[in-house]
């Protein structure tokens, strides 16, 4: 099991892993309240990347990563801009739905 120390490296490598094989890559997250620990794992059944933490600030970063994965998985691995801008960079569909964003 490869535990990665740097958060950014974990994010980059896991996104690369997903883009290389979106069919078999999965993202697992385990939280233990009693120990106060959080473990993240991204694997494509050939390679495995793990990240563990007990810091609240890492949890906030993890939320951003969750958003990235949700977007990648729901929309497809070709979505690049959403990684940079998060929810703001959207295509026409949500604008038509009228979420009330001030533009």
């Amino acid at each position: 099991m490869v535990y990665i120390v740097s958060w950014d490296e974990f994010v980059d490598r896991s996104v690369q892993l997903f883009k290389a094989d979106p069919e078999s890559t999965r993202y697992v997250f385990k939280y233990r309240h009693c120990d106060g620990k959080l473990v993240l794992k991204v694997t494509d059944n050939k390679e495995c990347l793990k990240f563990k933490t007990d810091q609240a600030q890492e949890a906030r970063k993890m939320e951003k990563l969750n958003n990235i994965f949700f977007t990648l998985m729901a929309r497809g691995p070709d979505v690049d801009l959403s990684e940079v801008n998060g929810k703001e960079q959207m295509e026409t569909q949500p604008v038509k739905k009228g979420r009330g964003r001030k533009q």
Partner: protein, 123 residues
């Protein structure tokens, strides 16, 4: 494996987190899937149609497992609710390391002393 709709899934996930506060873990798995068998996939790609992918989300607390699938339209809403649930429950994590705390308190002290000295200078 219980397949639920989005909102019941979120409710169940919340109760799982609450149950596991004293002991136990909560696992959440995210995976992309088209929810179709290989045969169906071949037929679709042969016919020239695009396969619609969904994001499969599974959650377990080692006693029971719940799952849901999120499409491209729902993922925004689900993402927001999911983030709220996580923030509300992951309260056991440490805020900062002790070394950082010491540094931050020292920095705060320095900032407070420097700010009091600069204010009269500006006036």
């Amino acid at each position: 494996m219980v397949l639920l709709q989005l909102d019941p899934f979120l409710n169940e996930l919340t109760s799982m987190f609450e149950k596991s506060k004293e002991k136990g873990s909560v696992w959440v798995t995210l995976k992309r899937s088209s929810l179709k068998s290989k045969l169906q996939k071949r037929k679709l790609s042969a016919a020239g149609e695009s396969i619609e992918y969904r994001c499969l989300i599974r959650a377990t607390d080692a006693k029971k497992t719940i799952s849901t699938s999120v499409g491209a339209k729902d993922h925004q809403r689900f993402q927001a609710s999911y983030a709220t649930i996580l923030k509300a429950h992951m309260t056991a994590l440490k805020k900062r390391e002790r070394k950082d705390r010491k540094k931050s308190t020292e920095a705060d002290k320095k900032e407070s002393t420097s700010s009091t000295t600069t204010k009269p200078k500006k006036l």
